[in-house]
């Protein structure tokens, strides 16, 4: 598995993603610069977390127009696996590769803590074999409140495109387990074809024993299996 991690000005989780794929999984991971036009033949593209362009205008709005995003869109259209984490999720919605938008957390606070996620819906490259699992993964965001109009939301729910929901440790989904006010308690969604996934929580921050939690590794291992090792 070859993994391209896109660095935008202000990305700060790109090295973490490269480390998980390269050091923990022992596969090939490399960074590509947002202003370039070459993804270098990846099996998987990750748009990492961070504060690209200082979150100016709207989170991800300026990065969505970066030169490399045309290549990411082509790759996604051909069925390529794309994962957007946190700011990467915001960039995917701003670029129109995923529906909806992420706006200011309902409580107005920047939230940085562990949450629990219930995996469900489509078997995407990042969630295949994980349906029904509850995973503990940290969030760190100010704008993770998922919004979409009622029709879009109904389509996402009906087609299994909601792949991650905030839940309690026992898997129960309710408002008390939702940190940011997201509609439908949504933490992650997939494109209709399932190959593009965006999630607010950070699996790369809990993917090795040194970090005290390895739940996040499950998403990377699913990708490894789905994409042929």
């Amino acid at each position: 598995m070859r993994v391209a991690v896109v660095s935008f000005p202000g990305s700060n989780c790109d090295d973490d993603c490269v480390r998980v794929v390269g050091e923990v999984l022992g596969r090939t991971a490399y960074k590509v610069w947002h202003a370039d036009h070459d993804l270098q033949g990846p099996d998987l593209v990750i748009l990492p977390g961070g504060f690209s362009y200082g979150d100016y205008l709207r989170c991800g709005a300026i990065s969505a127009h970066a030169p490399i995003m045309a290549d990411v869109a082509d790759f996604a259209r051909r069925g390529g696996a794309v994962l957007g984490i946190c700011n990467g999720f915001q960039i995917l919605t701003e670029a129109g590769l995923l529906p909806g938008a992420l706006h200011r957390n309902a409580g107005l606070h920047f939230i940085c803590r562990d949450v629990h996620l219930r995996v469900e819906g489509l078997a995407t490259p990042f969630t295949a074999g994980l349906a029904g699992r509850v995973l503990k993964v940290p969030v760190a965001h100010h704008d993770g409140n998922y919004h979409a109009d009622a029709d879009t939301l109904a389509r996402l729910e009906g087609d299994g495109q909601v792949v991650l929901r905030y839940c309690h440790p026992d898997g129960v989904v309710d408002a008390a387990a939702n940190p940011n006010g997201s509609l439908g308690h949504i933490a992650g969604i997939a494109s209709a074809a399932g190959n593009v996934v965006g999630m607010m929580p950070h699996p790369e921050r809990c993917a090795e024993p040194l970090l005290g939690n390895t739940d996040g590794l499950a998403f990377f291992q699913a990708a490894l299996q789905t994409l042929g090792g």
Binding site: L57, R58, A61, I62, H65, T93, E94, P99, G100, A101, H103, R104, N105, A106, G107, L108, N145, H147, A148, D149, G181
Partner: protein, 81 residues
């Protein structure tokens, strides 16, 4: 020529910043304040001198970058002078 693009949250979208400002106004003793909603104004200097073309350019900018159609609406105007 100077243009102005005003971007507002759509009516159905919860404005959490507006809510916080509402509360702050009440604490400051401003009574009788109803809902407060927060928008953005972009003042854009344009080399274009034709008003119709300038408005078309501002509309393209709003659609392409300044507003997110999922959550926001926009209006464009030209500043006098």
């Amino acid at each position: 020529m100077k243009g102005k693009v005003t971007v507002r949250l759509k009516a159905g979208v919860l404005d959490v910043e507006g809510k916080a400002i509402e509360g702050a106004l009440a604490k400051l003793g401003f009574n009788g304040v109803g809902a407060v909603r927060v928008g953005k104004v972009f003042e854009v200097e344009l080399a274009e001198t034709d008003p119709a073309a300038a408005k078309a350019a501002l509309t393209a900018m709003a659609k392409g970058l300044l507003a997110n159609p999922v959550m926001e609406t926009f209006e464009v105007a030209l500043e006098p002078g």
